[in-house]
Symmetry: C2
Subunit: 218 residues, 2 copies
């Protein structure tokens, strides 16, 4: 095993340190956050920090870095109170990655990258067309992480639009059926395949696969 | 597209709601957190919420639910100030999932599940043997999420032990080379394969793959 100490990490060239620390926590979610300012400017940006926070009420969170690109997303979602979360699929990884470029305010990444907007009745914010899982979220609160001035945004899940093929009988979304990707570090895009799904674990009970009884079939 | 509204989500049977909300945010990291109490009792538990929080200083965070199993992890890491993060590989998904069972305090999941402890010189906390990425973390602070009483734990990355095969020239850890898995929902374990890795995105510059120039080779 190679060992990196706090000092060797600190002494790495900046890009190397970013690569190491961004990849050492494991695979990350790959989502496009869609927003629209009050005056109608759309914005879409990739995030890899969206995390489940609770199911009742249904909450998610994500991390916003203080000085980086997706501040348009932040100002828009604060203006309208809502944003959309759209899963990235194998087919759009190039366009999704390009949304991380530092475009000037007022430039819509939808126009630039070739990602398409789609709208649902009664919802102001844009979704990403053909994304197999699309979520409408409402801003709830934010926690400033004082250690590095990042902002942890909390939002409630208001609506979920999902491709029927992904939904199993027990309402699990089988992401591989939508070619949903995961992110390795800052810039690696990976396609997962399901190995197994297990029943709820209990002490003194053998870990049991669910796949044999067809629970993953929709 | 199937639509779930806030009301239909609320009205789902509990397990179905847990499945839907836990899987709708995308793929999650799969990590085993290792701890040891002051009186020498070890503990290992699976977490899917570990998220990169910053690279300078190197910080990560994870979410602790108020009333669930891995409270032993919390009391141990508060006692000693440290814990370990170990990536879950394809080979140990069954054992890793079994650590989520509600064992009595004092029962070590290492003894029960067949996962093996490994120790490094000068470090009190146990690592999971054969995990290709193992991180020593130091507790920094915690933020109580008042909306649902979850705790967002912040920790600094003190040391990283990594299988040499995963490390590229630019210090990116190519997780697929260690058979690292990702989690879909509460109970689905998936193995990702790298599709592509892209250069830093800039406006008016075509998204460019890194794989053609061998940057992913170690």
């Amino acid at each position: 095993m190679i060992q990196f100490t706090k000092n060797t990490i600190q002494d790495l060239p900046k890009i190397n340190r970013l690569n190491l620390i961004n990849s050492c926590t494991g695979y990350k979610s790959a989502n496009l956050i869609g927003t629209k300012s009050k005056d109608g400017k759309t914005n879409v940006a990739i995030f890899s920090s969206i995390t489940h926070l609770g199911s009742d009420p249904a909450l998610l969170g994500f991390i916003l870095r203080p000085a980086t690109v997706p501040r348009n997303s932040y100002s828009n979602l604060k203006e309208t109170g809502c944003f959309t979360v759209n899963h990235v699929t194998e087919e759009i990884i190039t366009q999704a990655h390009q949304t991380s470029a530092a475009y000037d305010y007022g430039v819509s990444e939808f126009d630039i990258t070739g990602l398409n907007e789609v709208y649902y009745d009664g919802i102001y914010e844009p979704f990403v067309a053909n994304s197999p899982v699309q979520i409408l979220c409402k801003y709830v609160s934010e926690y400033v992480i004082k250690e590095n001035n990042c902002i942890h945004i909390l939002a409630s899940i208001e609506k979920i639009f999902c491709n029927e093929d992904l939904i199993t009988k027990d309402n699990w979304l089988q992401l591989e059926k939508g070619n949903v990707v995961t992110i390795n570090g800052l810039d690696g895009y990976c396609l997962p395949k399901l190995l197994d799904r297990f029943e709820y674990a209990r002490p003194n009970t053998k870990t049991k696969s669910m796949l044999k009884n067809g629970a993953q079939k929709s």
